[in-house]
């Protein structure tokens, strides 16, 4: 398989406390998103942050990974709704991404809740972005199957 590269760029002006930056992705899908230290650690006030982008990256990757695993198990999903929460905390004086909490609600014909939960765990283990952030973060997962029949 070929290597795939994706790039993003940032321009930052000024010092850390009072400066601000702008974030763009080379695809053009995100462009000039402003961010600051104050909105990163306190109220976001409509501004994104590295942590929100990590949440979106891990959430987007896990969702695709689960769609792939369910398809392999011949239970392609009708719909998956995933949330991802990225937590940064201070540990021994350093700021670390300590957790990424994933939640998934699925509508998947012909599957029971137990099988869905097992395949979701496998998808989480296989997800590239979840693997990536495990250097410092605990990745947690909660699953809900819509209209699922337990053991059915």
């Amino acid at each position: 398989m070929p290597r795939i590269s994706r790039a993003a760029s940032v321009s930052w002006e000024g010092n850390l406390a009072r400066g601000s930056g702008a974030i763009s992705g080379d695809s053009g899908a995100i462009e000039g998103l402003p961010y600051t230290l104050a909105t990163r650690i306190a109220d976001p006030e409509g501004k994104t942050s590295p942590e929100e982008l990590v949440a979106a990256a891990v959430g987007g990757c896990f969702t695709m990974s689960l769609a792939g695993e369910l398809t392999r198990a011949e239970r392609p999903p009708e719909r998956l709704d995933v949330s991802a929460v990225c937590t940064v905390d201070e540990v021994d004086g350093r700021h670390l991404v300590t957790a990424v909490q994933l939640g998934v609600r699925g509508r998947v014909p012909g599957i029971d809740a137990e099988t869905f939960a097992r395949i979701a765990r496998e998808a989480e283990q296989g997800c590239t972005m979840a693997a990536l952030v495990r250097a410092s973060a605990e990745v947690r997962l909660e699953t809900t199957l819509e209209g699922g029949r337990d053991g059915g």
């Binding site: 795939i4 930052w12 400066g19 590295p50 990590v54 979106a56 392609p76 709704d81 949330s83």
Partner: protein, 145 residues
């Protein structure tokens, strides 16, 4: 302090033929954004991907850490222009995130700037989450040098 940041994603259909959306983010700063397997692994066609978002997270985290380190050293930057390029090998995973930064920083020399960039690369929280799993590198230069 602990800060939580949230994103929500939906997907319809199987992996190859289906399509997803980064439906909303907690801040409301962006989204909805379409994502598909084809745009992730072939031409982006104007669509974002997990790799682009992690590149954006890494470049933005690194830029802030470097601005902080430069300010602490008494040489705050006027401007930092940073890019991060993340390489994904299907079947293997993410292998590399390469940062490049060009700085306009009064009163600093090239080697002190490079040293500060290395420290920011090692110390920013997103680097902390990635390192060990992926090769991290930074190329730093001064704009006017």
């Amino acid at each position: 302090m602990a800060a939580d940041r949230r994103a929500e994603v939906k997907w319809r259909g199987d992996l190859m033929g289906g399509a997803g959306e980064i439906e909303r983010v907690g801040s409301g700063a962006f989204a909805p954004l379409d994502v598909t397997w084809a745009s992730r692994t072939e031409e982006p066609g104007g669509r974002t991907s997990p790799e682009e978002l992690i590149a954006a997270a890494h470049a933005s985290c690194f830029s802030m850490a470097l601005a902080g380190a430069l300010a602490r050293a008494g040489t705050p930057p006027q401007e930092l222009a940073t890019s991060a390029t993340v390489t994904f090998v299907p079947g293997t995973g993410i292998t590399r995130s390469a940062l490049e930064v060009t700085g306009t920083v009064p009163g600093i020399d090239e080697s002190a700037f490079r040293e500060a960039a290395e420290q920011a690369k090692d110390g920013c929280p997103v680097s902390g989450a990635l390192k060990g799993n992926v090769e991290l590198e930074v190329t730093a230069r001064l704009a006017s040098a």
